[in-house]
């Protein structure tokens, strides 16, 4: 790890004072619980689980989330990203878990979650190498559809659609929309302050107060809290485990979605903690995904739901200027400890349903907009327009039309059972299939120094757009090649122009510069002011130093009068 970034008071490996560590651990826990613990409660409501069992389910979720947060903070060769990236029940797991709970109860949720966590362990090592399968158009589309998949439970909860016939709906509507108003008003007013980080918890508090005022929360709810034991050991896997091969696809989608989200969050953590960040540290990213999936495996074995890291907490770490991973260990430990106090789990359990609905709308809104931002982070040509739009159209079609299933021939495997599964499978398939036929190499001939720099810039700009390469990588390639080519012409090293061949995949941008003439010397030394002013050679030293700084690797070779420069940029 490099020097502490100036904006941070305590960086990833620092040890803040114990009192500050405890305070920040509690802050992270509040932010994490405000959203992460909502999903098991929504699931419990979907299958009409009783108060006691729901509280047990929540306590198990707290234990699993606590362990997951500790795993994520570790920095071992295999498990842990080594960053403060608090982890809890992830939104992508909710749609699949609701299907499982309705068809086979909580045992099927636990069994499928454990199985996918296990399957996710080897994937953690492979995922960074399979990045070409998950460009922004794929991850963005999946994120949008995770948000879309939360709409149905959110709307059912906030409008009280599952209430028995003839029930007065006004208290539900008032409570739900009052909670939603806290998000909207608080979010608009506090967008630049720390207020937005605590919005979920603030909304729960106000929602519960309105629920009490409207009579939605009854004495029975408070009695459930007061009757819950003060201390009890959460009994793991009280409902056992079961497995249904028909649910592999939706759970696989959830696991891949959660893993991709965690990989994105670990990338953000790396950037925050390293001001000189240039490219993804694969060991840390794979360790983060491994921690995620190991936590999902354990969560399943304990009887809970799948896990993912939370970017809201990463935002909190940035806002407080403290990214020390020891806080993750403290936060996780605290969460596990609180699972031993059933009254706390019961407080979450008796939360009014419309409050949950408002929280789900909040989560859904952010996922949809985040997904859109990811998708539009690269230029959308016709190919990518179809890769993004067709899965969304068919995914929404699956959700809108109840007869969608009947229209699918029997010979098609039963993969398209939810909008999220349909969209995820289609976007991965389309991206993979439509990759073929795209020219992944391009060439440019430069006969003279005249306009060479401008032509190189335009060439990389056009190819970057065509390949949807990251802007910062294309800019690095432009600067590196401009400096090298200028230096070659300035030193008259080439006798008859240069040939530039560039190839691209999702992992690397590689180029080959060929010319007839003497090899260029690449400098690893930055000339100082005096050298620059007094030594004519220093300009070439600076040019090649800049080129080598912007590239990941430069190799120069020369054979029978032909020089080849191979340049690599990590993407």
């Amino acid at each position: 790890m490099t020097a502490r970034p100036p904006k941070l008071l305590y960086s990833v490996d620092d040890r803040p004072p114990p009192s500050l560590t405890a305070l920040l651990a509690l802050q992270h826990l509040i932010v994490l619980a405000g959203v992460g613990l909502v999903f098991p409660i929504v699931l419990a409501h979907a299958i009409d689980l009783g108060h006691t069992e729901t509280a047990q389910f929540v306590a198990l979720a707290m234990s699993a989330s606590g362990l997951a947060t500790v795993f994520q903070s570790l920095r071992t060769p295999i498990v842990g990203s080594g960053f403060l990236a608090p982890t809890s029940i992830g939104p992508p797991w909710l749609p699949a878990s609701i299907i499982a709970a309705k068809t086979g109860g909580l045992s099927l949720v636990a069994g499928m979650t454990a199985a996918m966590g296990l399957l996710g362990l080897p994937l953690a090592r492979l995922l960074p190498k399979l990045r070409f399968l998950f460009p922004p158009e794929v991850t963005g589309t999946v994120t949008i559809m995770v948000g879309v998949s939360l709409i149905s439970p959110a709307i059912r909860a906030i409008f009280g659609l599952d209430l028995p016939e003839g029930t007065e709906r006004s208290p539900t509507l008032i409570t739900g929309f009052a909670t939603l108003a806290v998000f909207v008003v608080g979010g608009a007013r506090g967008s630049a302050s720390q207020l937005r980080l605590y919005l979920p918890f603030l909304a729960i508090a106000i929602g519960v107060a309105v629920g009490v005022a409207t009579g939605l929360m009854t004495m029975d709810d408070w009695a459930a809290v007061s009757h819950a034991p003060v201390i009890a050991i959460p009994s793991p896997a009280p409902w056992g485990w079961s497995f249904d091969p028909l649910l592999i696809v939706p759970f696989l989608v959830a696991m891949v979605g959660g893993s991709l989200k965690t990989m994105g969050d670990i990338t953000a953590c790396q950037k925050i903690n390293d001001p000189d960040w240039k490219r993804l540290d694969m060991t840390s990213a794979a360790g983060g995904v491994m921690a995620n999936n190991l936590a999902s495996l354990l969560a399943g074995l304990m009887g809970s739901m799948g896990q993912q890291s939370y970017s809201t907490n990463i935002g909190l770490a940035m806002a407080t200027g403290v990214t020390a991973r020891i806080i993750g260990i403290a936060c996780g430990g605290l969460m596990v400890a609180l699972a031993f106090f059933p009254k706390i789990a019961m407080v979450f359990t008796v939360m009014p349903v419309p409050v949950l609905g408002a929280l789900l709308i909040f989560a859904s809104a952010f996922m949809i907009v985040t997904g859109m931002q990811i998708v539009t982070s690269r230029m959308l040509d016709m190919r990518r327009t179809f890769i993004v739009s067709l899965p969304i159209i068919f995914g929404l079609g699956e959700g809108f039309l109840s007869t969608f299933h009947d229209s699918i021939p029997n010979w098609v495997p039963p993969l398209f059972d939810s909008p999220l599964s349909t969209a995820t499978i289609l976007v991965i398939l389309l991206n993979f299939v439509l990759r073929f036929g795209i020219s992944s190499t391009a060439q440019l001939r430069l006969d003279s120094a005249e306009e060479a720099g401008k032509r190189v810039h335009t060439f990389f700009e056009q190819q970057g757009d065509a390949w949807a390469a990251r802007t910062e990588v294309i800019r690095a390639a432009q600067i590196c090649h401009s400096e090298l080519i200028e230096s070659i012409f300035r030193q008259s090293l080439c006798s008859s122009g240069l040939d530039l061949t560039v190839s691209f995949d999702e992992l690397k941008l590689k180029s080959l510069l060929q010319y007839d003439g003497s090899p260029i010397t690449i400098s690893g030394h930055r000339p100082n002011e005096q050298e620059m002013l007094e030594d004519e050679e220093a300009l070439e030293t600076l040019a090649t130093y800049l080129a080598s700084t912007y590239a990941t690797d430069i190799q120069v070779s020369s054979d029978t009068g032909t020089t080849e420069i191979r340049i690599t940029f990590e993407h």
Partner: protein, 112 residues
């Protein structure tokens, strides 16, 4: 391609290079910058419309910086985007220049 717009604000020269300063245009930039310095003016270079500056352009700025130190005048830079700043930082040039966010700030700084 490089176009250099030259203005004066009182006794301050304002140079606005537009396009690219590289090997092929560094001499034009050198001529414009040193002509502005020849008049004894304090000079502001506005990077707002500059697309790219290579090491050849950086060297011209360094030579100008040496001259203003010797003649006890002033050379200020403004409107550097993140990409320009990064090149300056990697080259070790950032501490050698007074850099302002806006043209107004730079002109005010030069007037003090």
């Amino acid at each position: 391609m490089l176009n250099i717009h030259n203005q004066t604000h009182g006794d301050i020269g304002l140079l606005c290079p537009e396009g690219r300063i590289d090997s092929t245009t560094a001499d034009d930039f050198h001529t414009a910058l040193f002509s502005a310095l020849d008049t004894g003016h304090r000079v502001v270079v506005d990077f707002g419309k500059l697309q790219f500056i290579s090491s050849a352009g950086l060297r011209v700025l360094l030579m100008a910086a040496k001259r203003v130190r010797k003649e006890k005048t002033e050379l200020l830079l403004c409107q550097l985007d993140a990409s320009h700043r990064e090149v300056f930082e990697i080259s070790g040039f950032l501490p050698l220049f007074t850099i302002h966010e806006t043209v107004t700030d730079a002109l005010k700084g030069a007037a003090e």
